[in-house]
């Protein structure tokens, strides 16, 4: 039966030591731990909410970025198209201008050639005239060596002239 009778000495020491253990742990042990765990839990919950918000914001930013990118792409395409058009136009215009200029220069050259040609022809004519007069003079001089012949010649010529004027 002695097993079931609490021993007074042990009872005393148990009361004392359990009291001390309880005091120490209730003051410096468990509340510190449970409070910190609780705080950490709150912190984690809070962090989760914040992270969710951040994620949403990130998604928004991403969407925004994508739209900006798409717009930029469009713009790029447009600009490229414009540039290509402008280039073509410029090339076309330049070609046109070059053609006109070429034509103009060709015409000028042609005109100049014409003028030169005419000049040359005129020159040749003059030369031919001078030459023919010279030749005629030489021929005449040979034929009109005598006075009689000269006179005959003058007469004939005068006749011819008169004949011409009569007609």
């Amino acid at each position: 039966m002695s097993l079931l009778v609490p021993d007074s000495g042990l009872l005393f020491w148990m009361l004392l030591s359990f009291g001390i253990v309880f005091f120490v742990l209730a003051k410096f042990g468990f509340p510190v731990i449970t409070k910190m765990v609780e705080e950490r839990k709150q912190y984690i919950d809070h962090s989760l909410i914040v992270a969710k918000e951040a994620n949403e914001q990130l998604a928004n930013i991403k969407a925004e970025g994508e739209s900006i990118l798409a717009k930029a792409n469009e713009e790029q395409v447009r600009i490229l198209k414009e540039a290509a058009e402008a280039r073509e136009r410029i090339v076309r215009e330049a070609k046109e201008q070059a053609r006109i200029e070429g034509d103009r220069m060709l015409a000028e050259v042609r005109r100049q050639i014409q003028a030169e040609k005419e000049d040359a022809i005129r020159d040749i004519r003059r030369q031919v005239a001078v030459l023919s007069v010279d030749i005629a003079e030489k021929v005449l001089r040979k034929n009109l060596d005598t006075d009689k012949e000269q006179m005959q010649m003058i007469d004939r010529m005068l006749d011819e002239l008169t004949h011409v004027s009569k007609n």
Binding site: L3, L10, M14, I20, F22, I33, R40
Partner: protein, 355 residues
């Protein structure tokens, strides 16, 4: 290969049995298993650590007694334990009668009177050691939390394990059983849990700092049950007392003869009483079984090589099994004590029904 190992093990066991057989003729005295078991379960004034041949290594503990006639006495138990019935300063350890094994004061007329005994006995010393272990473990854990902020990452290793352990009890047992103002009670319930758990586990360690039968001692469990009793009844709500003194039952059950109130009042005391007996009986029984199983080795030592060898194997296997079970019991009993305390506290926090 495996079969070879088993055979080798069996041969080894048989070889170990040979010296036992050799010493058989000198083994005159019978081994009293009951004596061994009760000697362990009950308290002692010295802590027997081990014996090596004829030499006994034991820790002599201080005896602190108060006599009505001569006042306080404090001396080492070694003075009383040299030989049986030795007297020192008028005290001796009774060898028979009601106070067998306890320190008694020998009066002038030869009468043996039990003095007020505050000796640091084996159980008290293991209680102290276990208290230091509990405080050390919990404060070591708490130190980490003092040094860190909620932003710091969760602890790892031992502190992480303790956090998981503490929060398991806090969340699963205390919070769910006590209800909304669990915070007020959680330090007590957590202290009770870890106190019981550490004492149970330390009791299972067979060598010096452990091995004391602390929670298997009624004086220890009575204090714990008393604490729960106070925690339940000191902070009981009006509704709780109303349910005890004027429960919602047919009036004839409570008016002329207060039948239900009497039962309920009785219940106030049976609840902590059950807590006390449950913890005490479980741990004491655990210690008894393990010791009894160990005693098989010594009881069968004189019965021939074959029996003693086979019984030794059986004893060791059963001891291993029982120790595993006891580890489980150590946890379960601490858990059950805490949970039931929490449930009783939760009942005392009852609020008015909406009917």
């Amino acid at each position: 290969m495996k079969a070879m190992k088993y055979i080798a093990g069996l041969v080894l066991c048989l070889m170990l049995a040979i010296p036992v057989k050799a010493s058989e003729p000198q083994e005159a005295e019978k081994v009293d298993a009951k004596e061994i078991v009760f000697h362990h379960i009950q308290d002692a004034y010295e802590w027997h650590i081990t014996s090596w041949g004829d030499k006994h290594f034991s820790l002599s503990l201080p005896i602190i007694v108060y006599s009505n006639e001569s006042g306080w006495h404090c001396f080492s138990s070694a003075h009383l334990l040299h030989s049986e019935g030795e007297t020192y300063e008028g005290f001796k350890i009774a060898t028979e009668g009601d106070y067998e094994g306890k320190v008694v004061e020998v009066k002038a007329n030869g009468e043996e009177v039990r003095p007020f005994d505050l000796s640091i006995t084996k159980t008290v010393l293991s209680l102290f050691i276990n208290c230091l272990v509990v405080i050390g473990v919990i404060l070591y854990t708490a130190r980490w939390y003092k040094r860190s902020s909620p932003e710091s990452p969760a602890p790892k290793g031992f502190v992480g394990f303790m956090e998981m352990f503490i929060m398991m009890i806090e969340e699963d047992v205390i919070k769910s059983c006590v209800g909304k103002d669990y915070k007020k009670y959680s330090p007590y319930l957590l202290t009770a849990f870890f106190f019981i758990f550490v004492n149970n586990i330390m009791g299972l360690i067979p060598v010096f700092p452990g091995g004391g039968n602390v929670t298997g001692n009624i004086a220890v469990t009575v204090v714990l049950a008393l604490c729960t009793f106070l925690a339940v009844n000191l902070f009981g709500t009006k509704e709780y007392w109303k349910e005890i003194l004027w429960p919602e039952v047919p009036t004839w059950l409570k008016c002329p003869v207060p039948l239900m109130p009497a039962i309920e009042l009785f219940g106030i005391f049976t609840k902590p009483f059950a807590l006390m007996i449950r913890l005490f009986a479980n741990i004491m029984a655990g210690h008894s079984i393990i010791l009894a199983l160990t005693s098989i080795v010594f009881v069968t030592a004189g019965m021939g090589a074959v029996i003693s060898t086979s019984m030794t194997v059986v004893s060791v296997l059963f001891c291993i099994f029982m120790n595993c079970v006891e580890v489980l019991v150590a946890f379960i009993q601490a858990y059950v004590f805490t949970m039931l305390s929490a449930v009783f506290i939760g009942m005392s926090r009852a609020e008015a029904h909406h009917s």
